[in-house]
Subunit: 364 residues, 2 copies
């Protein structure tokens, strides 16, 4: 992933991003520890190049708190547990608070009995799913996390959306390398269609559908309908597998956690009063040391083998999940921060004024 | 899925399929209990309409035993365990023996502590992955199973295959309904390309690549190269997500179990002497009763909601994973058996002669 850097953009250090988000959250009454956790989550997304889930979400989260749709004070609660599982009620708390709490339990249980499997209800939008999987990977475990989301993805053959983009993440690390899969189970997220619309360029066949469920290449139509195709695309290209993965995520999250699922999830719209979201989420940690020794060596070997495969086009080397993010982080480190462009900077300025927070400071 | 029934085909009852496969296995020295387990696995695949993994595999399995590449006598062994995990050595035993043993441990642990997670090395081709996920679903648990396979799927951007079709399965049941996802992480399996070749029809763009890693629509080229695209297809259509899923399966199986993985797995070729396969497999069972009550009602509601979505084409109703198999099983029940066509019947005749087993008897 490449950062956009031009005259409309400004570079903001990660520390300054953290400062700004934390102060904005505190300005609407969020306890400092909660504000910091939420800030870390958003900055992690921007650092990794997932801009849609970083600073871009701050306005929504602030709005959710101001409208009382998310409980800025809430702390999650364990409703039931066994040595390997926990059922958690997020009590409508902030995404990072509920997510971190849940994954920490999964990690603790994995260290005790080999696996920790946590299903959480009463959750809100929790940022990048990969952040939770990586928490487990950072302590030598394999981590997985899933969440359901508002319906945007059509089932194969249907006119209207059935389920959300239902992301699926899996992370595993060695001391030298890592694999971080963090993907929606739709072909693309809405942001990619929005980009084509801005550029007045068609979208590829197989990304999205029109209002009647027919494939469209018109980005205006696609963006208005918001009917995404599941991974695989059309039925002929295996889209039913992507839809199956999305339903699997729905079962492992909303259905298992006793939260909202599919049609019951309100649309993710800052002006929707149909709240709280009551999302379902799943957090899994498993200890590779319970199985064959030398897990890390084999992981390194597999990842290096993939990267060293001969590419079709020598300018496009083979990469593995997590590599684009690693490249983006190196770029952020090199230029001293994340590059935000006009739209985002204006939103931050407005937030600074309305919340009486010191505006974002730029590098140089 | 529709059964092919024409003058070249014969209907064989499920009991007769079981009798024939069991006797063939016993004829090459397989203990009766092992022969029956392997027979149940293959018949289950044919019953569900997955013909490539049913009677079609018998010849290969017999060959593997005759050549000494699979140990017909071997029983698996637990190498290490915790309350929620087990590391199993399949000791090169038959697919069903190793798979059933491993999933039974996962189920037992899930009943005790909520989750059972088993990684198995020293495994062979284990039939349909869904068979193991369903074992857990049949006793009220949610089941998952993965296996790695011989490299056939290219990574995004590579000229040559990187990993196998690495199937992923997940099953969940209520008393009235079930969800059974059983999918390769490639767009299609080789069998679908073979079918197009036989019909002299092009394959759709995005199924497979030529020898140099470029998209091809020529079924002859695709069948000769055996370079499949990961789910999603090309990079533009999200194929990197399908490749990411395939690598995730590789990590959860071969890498975690300490078995062969990716390039180290010998090609699945009856004449290859590069054996044993030493595949890695993963078996997970989780008890939904550890989380929110009424799991089954929500599962039923989700599946019915999906099926009741308005279809784009009224002749193609929306279905969920497991529905095509359910339809196929009803058809088998209606006609009194599975329909096998000429090629398969000839192979069975030859086996009957060479192994001195009573030939397959047909219905009518």
């Amino acid at each position: 992933m490449k950062m956009e850097v031009n005259q409309d953009c400004q570079v903001v250090s990660l520390a300054e991003c953290r400062r700004f988000i934390t102060e904005c959250m505190i300005a609407v009454g969020t306890p400092e520890a909660h504000a910091k956790a939420q800030s870390d989550l958003l900055v992690e997304a921007d650092y990794r190049g997932h801009y849609s889930h970083g600073m871009n979400r701050l306005e929504h989260y602030i709005n959710d708190i101001q409208m009382g749709w998310t409980d800025k004070l809430a702390t999650p609660k364990i409703l039931a547990e066994t040595p390997a599982t926990a059922w958690v009620d997020g009590r409508n708390g902030l995404g990072a608070i509920v997510g971190n709490f849940s994954m920490e339990i999964a990690i603790k249980k994995a260290k005790n009995v080999g696996v920790g499997w946590v299903c959480t209800k009463g959750a809100n939008h929790y940022g990048i799913a990969g952040a939770y999987a990586m928490q487990a990977a950072k302590v030598g475990l394999v981590g997985l996390s899933f969440t359901n989301t508002s319906p945007l993805t059509n089932s194969t053959r249907s006119k209207k959306p059935a389920i959300g983009v239902n992301p699926l993440s899996c992370a595993a690390s060695s001391s030298d390398d890592s694999f971080v899969l963090d993907m929606s189970t739709s072909v693309v997220a809405v942001g990619k269609i929005e980009m084509q619309k801005r550029k007045h360029e068609n979208i590829p066949e197989g990304w999205a559908l029109d209002h009647e469920g027919n494939v469209t290449v018109d980005p205006e139509v696609a963006y208005e309908a918001l009917h995404l195709l599941p991974l695989g695309g059309t039925e002929l290209h295996g889209g039913y597998k992507g839809f199956g993965l999305g339903v699997m995520v729905e079962i492992l999250t909303g259905v298992m956690a006793g939260a909202n699922y599919a049609k019951h999830i309100p649309s993710y719209n800052p002006f929707s009063k149909d709240r709280p979201s009551d999302l379902g989420q799943c957090f899994i940690a498993v200890d590779p040391k319970c199985f064959a020794p030398d897990f890390e060596n084999r992981l390194d070997d597999l990842l290096q083998f993939a990267r060293n495969l001969e590419p079709v086009n020598s300018e496009k080397p083979v990469i593995v999940a997590g590599d684009p993010e690693r490249e983006h982080m190196a770029e952020v480190d090199r230029v001293g921060g994340v590059s935000f462009c006009r739209d985002q900077l204006e939103t931050c300025s407005k937030l600074a004024i309305s919340l009486k927070v010191t505006p974002l400071k730029f590098q140089n």
